[in-house]
Symmetry: C2
Subunit: 439 residues, 2 copies
C-alpha cells in the first residue's frame, strides 16, 4: 500500500475517486446516544449530586463536596507563573495577536431615521453567560482556550465559564495558564456529557449558561446537539482538513510537512494537495516517504495519509480552485507565485493561507485569526469562530405618529390579505387614533 | 375560566407561575420522526421518482413528469399583474423598506498589515445556493417570502430556489407575486419533508442547495434538523410571542389588540403584558373580553390567551425590564412615555418596538427589519434573520518571509508544548529557509 493516494483530474473516474476520499464514516453510535441521554437527564434532575457521581466514575476524582469541582483562580495564576518563560512568552504573543485580529470584528449598534421620522436600527449585545468546553488529557490544547476565550471577552461576555475534565486529577498547566491569560471567569474540573448538561441546565454549583462553545469527543458532541435550543452551541466539528494548491515551486519538504501538520491530528484528518506539475508531485511523495518514519506521531500520520490523503494532478491552477470550491476545505494553502491572484477564485474555505510562507501551523497558534473553523464542507455555509458568535442582534423599531399612519395602511392591507385581522386592526387603531389622547 | 391569566410579581409563587406559562410541550413525536426519516431516505436514493410519488400522495397533484413540478416565472409575473392594485402597491412598499433596512447590514471584506508586513483579514462571500421553504395552504404568507428572499438577494446569493406545496393544485397568487418581487430564481411546487430532502440532496430536477431557510410544519422542522450539517439551516422556529411593557397610559384597546395580534397566529402563541398600574390591567382585561367575540379568529385567540397569555402586575418599569430579559421575547413592545430610556435596560429580545405607535404588526410587514426572529427564549443567544445568514466569512492569512520567521518561533514553541511536532516542523522549515531558494 502506498503511503498516500495519487489521483489525476483527467481520469474518467476522478470525480467518484475524489468523493470516496472525501466521505468518512461519522460515527452514529446509538449506544453513545443512549448514554448521553441518560447522563443529561440525571444532571437535569439531580444537579450537583449526579455531577459528582459521574465525575467520580469517569474521571476517577475523589471529590465529596461540589465546591471541590471548582479550580480557584489562584491555581491558574500559579500555573501561569510556573510554566517555562519561553512558553509564557509564546502564549502572550498569541494573546496579543488574537486580540488585535478579533478587535477588527467589533460591530456597533446602528440606526437611521426615515422621512417619516421613524427610527430603525440594530442593537448589538453580548451573550450573558458562555460555557467553554476544553478537552482534558492528551488532546488538551492551550491554543483552543485562547481562540475561544479571547473573542468572547472582546465581545463583552460578562461571565465565561470554562469546564475541563481532569482525569485522575491531572491538570495541564499550559491550559490553566491560557485560562488566566484569556480572562476566563470561572473554571470547573468537569468533562464529558455531564459537563455539557451542567452548563445547559445549571446545577447548585455550576451556573447555567446561554451558549456552549469548544470541541470535545463524541459524547460531548452528542450532548451539545441534544441541548441545542435550550442553549446555543458553536458548531459540531468534524475531522481537521488541509487542502494545498501548489504550483510546484515551493520546497517539497515544506508541502510534505504542511500535509503532515493536519494528518497528525487524528486518523480521520484529511490532507490533500492539488498541483499541475507531475514531477513535483513525485518529489512531494518522496519527501513524505522520507520524512514520515522520523515523525513522533508516525502511526496516526500513516493511517490518515493512506486512508484520507491524496496528491492530485490537476490541469492548471484554475481547475485547482474549482476543486477547492467543491471541497470547501477547513484550511486552504495557496502555495504559488502571485498567490493573491487566486484568492478571488476561492468561494468556500474556512481560512485561506496565501503564499509559500503562510504555513497552516502559524494560523493555528499566533497569526491572529481564529483556528476554530468550519469542517466537512460546511465552509459552504458557515464561518470561522468570531466575535459574532458571542453577540446577538435585536431589531430596533421606533415608529412616529405620522409613520404609524403611513405604515399602518400598508400593514393592514397585507395583514388582511393573509387573513390576520388582529394584525390589521392593531395597525388600524393607530391610524384612527382611537382614544389616543387618553393620556 | 378567565380569558387571560393575571399574575403579580409580588406573589411568592410568581416565579413558578410565570415559568409554567412560559413552558410549552414541544411535540417530540416519534412517529413524525420515523416518517421524516424514511421520506428523506427515499428522496436521497430515488430522487425525482420519490419526489413525484410523495407529491402525488400528500398534495394530491396529478403530476407525471418531474418538470411539471416547476412553476415557470411567467406564472409568477402573471400573478403579480393580476393581484389587486392596492395589494401590489403594499407589497412594493414592503419590498423597498425591507431593502433599505437590510442594505444597512452589508459588510465588506477587510484586511490589515502588521509591522512584519503580514496581511490578515476576513473575506465575505455569499452562499452559492439557498433553498427557501414557504408553507402552502392557509398559512401561506407573502410577507415571509419577502423577509427571506430580499436579504438573500442583497447578500449576493446567485441562486435562490423557493419551494412551496400546492395542495390540490391550489396556489396563492400573493405568494407568487412576492416571489417575483423578491427576485426568487426558481420555484417548485413541492412541500413537506420531501421538499427539504430534495433541496438537501438534490434530485435530477431540483438543484442541491447549501442552506435551507423558512418556516414549516413539524415534518418540515424535523427534516431540517435531520439534514443540518449536510446543508445549513436558519433556525427551528417555536410559537410566536409578544411581551408588552406598558406604563398604563396607552389606550387599552391598542394593547388588547397588540396582544391579539400574536395570539391569533396559533394556539401556542404567547401574549404577555407587564404593567405597574392595576387599574390599567383591569381596563386591558375588559377590552380583551369586549373585543374578543368580534374577532374572526376567535377560537385560536381564546385558546392561546387563556393557556399561554398573562397580564402581569409589576412593581415598576425597571422590574418589567428585568422580567423581559428573563423571558427574552421574540417581540418586545415598550409602550411607555420616554420609551427610549428603557431600551438600554433590555439585553435580550428579537425585536424591540419603541413607543406607543410602534405596533408589532408594522414590523411584521413593512417597517423594514426582518420578521423572522428568535423564539422560545433563544434571543438570549441568537438574532433576527439577516444578510449575515446568507453570507459566510473566510479568514485571510498572508505571511511575509520575515513574519514566517517571527511567528514561526512562537508557533513552534506552542506546537511542541501541545505535542504536535509536524506543526512545529512546518513552522520551523520556513525559519530555516530549507531549500527555500529552490525556485
Amino acid at each position: 500500500m502506498n503511503t498516500i493516494k495519487r489521483l489525476d483530474s483527467l481520469d474518467k473516474n476522478f470525480s467518484s475517486s475524489l468523493s470516496s476520499i472525501l466521505e468518512f464514516e461519522s460515527s452514529e453510535d446509538e449506544s453513545i446516544e443512549k448514554t448521553v441521554h441518560s447522563i443529561l437527564k440525571d444532571i437535569k434532575n439531580d444537579g450537583d449530586k449526579a455531577l459528582l457521581n459521574y465525575t467520580r466514575k469517569f474521571d476517577r476524582l475523589e471529590v465529596i463536596y461540589p465546591d471541590e469541582l471548582e479550580i480557584p483562580k489562584e491555581k491558574w495564576i500559579k500555573a501561569l507563573n510556573n510554566i517555562p518563560k519561553e512558553q509564557r512568552k509564546a502564549l502572550e504573543i498569541s494573546v496579543s495577536r488574537i486580540k488585535e485580529y478579533h478587535e477588527k470584528q467589533i460591530v456597533s449598534t446602528w440606526s437611521y431615521k426615515d422621512s417619516d421620522n421613524n427610527i430603525l436600527g440594530q442593537k448589538i449585545t453580548p451573550i450573558d453567560k458562555v460555557g467553554l468546553y476544553v478537552p482534558g488529557g492528551k488532546a488538551s490544547y492551550p491554543s483552543s482556550v485562547l481562540m475561544n476565550a479571547i473573542p468572547a471577552k472582546i465581545a463583552g461576555v460578562p461571565e465565561l465559564i470554562m469546564v475541563s475534565p481532569t482525569p485522575d486529577g491531572h491538570i495541564n498547566n499550559m491550559v490553566l495558564a491560557a485560562a488566566s491569560l484569556g480572562s476566563v471567569d470561572r473554571l470547573f474540573a468537569i468533562g464529558g456529557a455531564q459537563a455539557i448538561g451542567a452548563l445547559a441546565y445549571g446545577t447548585e454549583t455550576v451556573p447555567r449558561v446561554d451558549k456552549i462553545v469548544g470541541p470535545g469527543n463524541s459524547y460531548v458532541a452528542y450532548a451539545k446537539r441534544k441541548v441545542f435550543g435550550t442553549v446555543g452551541i458553536d458548531m459540531i466539528a468534524g475531522p481537521s482538513e488541509i487542502l494545498i494548491i501548489c504550483d510546484g515551486k515551493t520546497p517539497a519538504e515544506w508541502i510534505a510537512m504542511d500535509l503532515f501538520s493536519q494528518a497528525e491530528h487524528d486518523e480521520l484528518a484529511q490532507s490533500i494537495m492539488l498541483c499541475p506539475d507531475l514531477d513535483f508531485i513525485d518529489e512531494v511523495e518522496n519527501q513524505i516517504n522520507k520524512l514520515l518514519p522520523k515523525m513522533p506521531r508516525f502511526d496516526i500520520l500513516k493511517k490518515s495519509l493512506s486512508n484520507r490523503g491524496a496528491l492530485i494532478k490537476v490541469k492548471d491552477l484554475s481547475e485547482a480552485c474549482d476543486i477547492a470550491n467543491m471541497i470547501a476545505p477547513e484550511h486552504l494553502e495557496i502555495s504559488t507565485e502571485n498567490a493573491n491572484e487566486l484568492v478571488p477564485l476561492i468561494r468556500h474555505a474556512g481560512a485561506i493561507f496565501i503564499g509559500r510562507f503562510s504555513s497552516e501551523s502559524l494560523g493555528d497558534y499566533c497569526a491572529g485569526p481564529n483556528h476554530v473553523l468550519p469542517t466537512s464542507r460546511t465552509a459552504r455555509f458557515s464561518s470561522p469562530l468570531g466575535l459574532y458568535d458571542f453577540q446577538k442582534r435585536s431589531s430596533l423599531i421606533n415608529i412616529s405618529e405620522k409613520g404609524s399612519i403611513n405604515l399602518g395602511k400598508t400593514a393592514s392591507i397585507l395583514a388582511n390579505s393573509e387573513g390576520l385581522q388582529a394584525h390589521a386592526a392593531s395597525a388600524q387603531y393607530r391610524i384612527d387614533g382611537k382614544n389616543h389622547d387618553r393620556r
